[in-house]
């Protein structure tokens, strides 16, 4: 691994790290983002995808609610292609929910959240799937869907266009130091374990739930409590707006329309390590039961997979000295607190508030570097150079405007039929060195995320690995198998009904028709190992336990 140097090393390729990289680039600061898996493969890619209007926090956490309101409005301006303006409902199902209503309405009023009470009939006219249990409905137009993958990729691409660099599948494994001054980081290729260094003036630790583990590499403590949440993906949109339970935030009380799917969530449980994400059957059942309280069809729709993410909850009690920017995220200036010059951490927060978090932490880092250029991320649109980030939105129309038949060109084949991904949507990513495997392609294009869970697109994508990337057959076969394997990890939690039948078709196709398992035995590829859990994105499931966790048992 060649050694290199830069101004700032950003650790972590989630929404926070991506936002930080773009902020730095817009301020003209040279930076490299280092991510041990793929972009958005950590918590961000496993979030619920709700662009919070703030309604969920307006009673218990005013500061967070206000941040959501403001950031939501900014994101709709600067990141149009990643936001779907679904609007949202807060619905009461029980008497306790109804008792919460006055506080909710008051909270919205205080924090400036647009909110309107509408009749249940009117709500049901707009959302026919609203369950018969629903008693009262509030309409919150500023709830939305935020596509976490496009958001991260969009931020990183915007930064790259301004000279920033990214290194995916590269882990920060240590640091370089001269006295009390940080001079660089040690890096390691996550797959080959090859090592190298990046010399720099400053490091921003944006590793979310991993922030404590990374800080420990630098010899300081950041208290992050990893709190796991499980979500269940249904194969289609039952409602077109986000549906929230109107009550004290709890388990299973949000259904988010994520483009073509509905995502039920979420649970909440402390875990010993950010990579310990077992999904319990009980959680899956609970998500479905709770979702069914608000929406009809939840129990009969096809559950496609379950996945889990881990919240980077910042333990404020222990950080009384910390630079507290809000109750929800914290910027920790390690120079001030621990005497390490050039090291800053940013933890907590939400995808919705990533931009603000980036702004605050880069303010600190920039001051250290003596750069006084102000933050402009709230003004400059993400897509300022017309990159077709929103290529997958409203996909039926993407397929082209109908023409008279004699003029109609032959249809291009689709690569992923479920998510309508065309060859040209995928092609650029095969040229991107930051893209390593088919999972990385999935995060950028949604290939493999539909009801067949990659049964069909996996072999087409593997073929593109050969034609577009020049890998050999056995390697492509292995990549295909790995891709199917990561899909399988999430699907196996919802193994009933049509999903079960679908997986039997998948098995028949790949094992019996293509003989993939036999092919893998005949052509073992040297040096390959099962994909790491961190590279899994919307996967979830029980991975091998990290050694340090196992040791604690």
């Amino acid at each position: 691994m060649p050694d290199t140097s830069t101004g700032v090393v950003v650790i972590g390729g989630g929404s926070t790290g991506a936002g930080v990289l773009r902020d730095l680039a817009l301020r003209g600061i040279d930076a490299i983002l280092v991510e041990k898996g793929d972009l958005a493969s950590g918590t961000t890619g496993r979030s619920h995808g709700l662009l919070h209007s703030g309604g969920r926090y307006c009673v218990n956490d005013e500061q967070a609610a206000i941040e959501c309101v403001e950031e939501g409005r900014i994101l709709r301006r600067i990141a149009r292609s990643t936001v779907e303006d679904t609007g949202g409902y807060f619905v009461s199902v029980t008497e306790e929910d109804q008792a919460w209503e006055p506080r909710f309405a008051e909270g919205c009023r205080r924090t400036g959240i647009t909110c309107e009470r509408i009749s249940v009939d009117e709500a049901r006219r707009r959302e026919p799937a609203l369950s018969k249990h629903v008693r009262t409905v509030f309409w919150v137009p500023e709830d939305g869907h935020l596509d976490p993958f496009y958001l991260v990729v969009g931020n990183v691409e915007s930064a790259r266009r301004r000279g920033a660099r990214v290194m995916t599948h590269t882990e920060v494994s240590g640091f370089l130091r001269e006295g009390d001054r940080l001079t660089g980081v040690r890096i390691r290729d996550s797959k080959t374990r090859e090592e190298g260094t990046i010399a720099c003036q400053s490091v921003i630790n944006a590793t979310g739930a991993w922030a404590g583990l990374v800080a420990r590499l630098f010899g300081v403590e950041v208290k992050v409590v990893p709190v796991k949440g499980t979500m269940v993906v249904l194969s289609r949109r039952l409602a077109h707006a986000a549906i929230n339970r109107c009550h004290k935030p709890g388990d299973g009380d949000i259904v988010v329309p994520g483009l073509s799917v509905s995502i039920l969530g979420t649970t909440s449980a402390k875990v010993p390590h950010p990579e310990t994400l077992p999904i319990e059957w009980d959680e899956v059942r609970r998500m479905i039961e709770e979702g069914a309280m608000m929406l009809d069809g939840v129990t009969t729709a096809r559950a496609m997979r379950a996945y889990a993410g881990v919240r980077p909850l910042y333990d404020l009690g222990a950080e009384a000295e910390g630079r507290e920017m809000s109750r929800n995220f914290a910027v920790i200036d390690h120079q001030e607190r621990d005497g390490i010059k050039g090291f800053t951490s940013i933890v907590g927060g939400k995808v919705t508030t990533f931009r603000l978090m980036a702004e605050r932490v880069v303010d600190v880092a920039a001051r250290y570097l003596g750069v006084s250029t102000p933050c402009t991320t709230a003004e400059v649109p993400l897509n300022d150079r017309d990159e077709p980030l929103d290529q997958l939105r409203h996909r039926p129309s993407v397929l082209g405007v109908p023409k008279p038949h004699d003029e109609e060109p032959p249809l291009q084949p689709l690569l992923c039929e479920c998510e309508l991904v065309r060859p040209q949507d995928v092609a650029p990513w095969f040229k991107d060195p930051a893209v390593h495997d088919l999972e990385d392609v999935r995060r950028r294009t949604r290939s493999g995320m539909g009801p067949c869970q990659a049964a069909i697109c996996s072999y087409r994508l593997a073929a593109r690995l050969v034609t577009d990337r020049g890998v050999d057959g056995p390697t492509a076969t292995r990549a295909m198998a790995d891709f199917l394997e990561t899909r399988w990890r999430g699907v196996r939690h919802v193994f009933w009904g049509s999903q079960l039948r679908n997986m039997q078709v998948t098995t028949g196709l790949h094992m019996e028709l293509y003989n993939v398992d036999r092919q893998l035995m005949l052509d073992p590829v040297a040096g390959t190992s099962p994909p790491p859990l961190a590279g899994e994105g919307r996967g979830g499931g029980l991975a091998q336990e990290p050694a340090e966790v196992a040791a604690q048992r």
Partner: protein, 410 residues
Amino acid sequence: MITEEFEPTTDTVEEEASVEACTKCTACNTVCPVARSTDIFRGPKALGPDMERFRSPQEAAVTPGLDLCSGCKLCEVTCPSQVSIQEYIRRAQNQGAREKGRSLRDWVLGRTRLLGKLGSMTAPLANFGNSNPLFRVLMERFVGIHRRRPLPKYQWLTFERWFRRHPRPVKPRRKVAYFYGCWVNYNDRRLGERAVAVLERNGIEVVVPRQQCCGIPAVVNSNMDLARRYGQENVRHLTPIVEEMDIVASSTSCGLMLKHDYGHLLEIPGSERLGAKTYDIMEYLWMLHEAGELDLNFETVPMRLLYHAPCHLKSHGIGYPAMRLLKLIPGVKLEEVDEGCCGISGTFGVKVEKYDLSMKIGSRLFAAVKAAGSDQVLADCETCRMQVEHGTGATSAHPLEILARAYGHG
């Protein structure tokens, strides 16, 4: 009624079928006659269940090629998971037409009964126009009906009027109601006459209840609302009748509407009972045979015949009763062509932009028919017969006509 005495052969498809049931096995695409013939059609899987995930009451998601679905329903017949592929496509077509508006042509083609009324009232004139080359060029230009597509001849005397003057048989054993459809009424009365003759020969009194167009032309011309109106009318007229007798239809598509689509596609309340009591005429006659009631005193019919099974007949899920029946007739040498869809699909192959495709779809069938050198090609569906004649120059007939002949009727 015959129904009580037989195992019901109507639709036993699970009600559960939905978009979620699609396992992407692709069986539907492999049987789709349109997908096989053009690369601008994405196939039933894509336009049905795949696209359905993206459709919403708010967005029609009219995708290119959606109108190329000819409505043959082979996809649904084939689907191992009983996904209502056709219904998704039909609804999307309908919604698209509702938003964009319908062309004059599609407006007219959806109203077969109106067309029939006008055509039969002005029969000589209509037939002259329909076969006049100059007129056809204008028709293609301004209406969008392909100039080479032969159009059905209209007859002055409709089946309805003929039947009114038809004497009732004495002492019938059973009664059955005949759903003759627009075709028999306005274009092919003689088929209706034979249907009546065959039924009466077997001691069955034929009743002709008031009826409207079954609605399938409206469905395939993206006007489900109109189809539903027609359907509701039929349900109103026919429901009281099915309490006393079964209904038979001599057109496979009409029969399929009554049996299946009123309930499933058009969701007309109260249509289930009607559906359960409706039979294809050949299916009904076969049931009669199984009950030992079919008159088997056939005259020898020394003919070499080819049988083409219409797509919509396959949708009935009753096998090929016509083949079974005709094999009872001495002298008949009957073979199935089995070369797939003829391509016309009702009004589909009439349209200027679809004519070539329709002929291409039928080309395998045409070649096989030409090679077989038979006396006649049989098909239960009227437009299949038109298409086979057009594509091959052969003559064609409804299988019932052979049966009638064996009973000594022309």
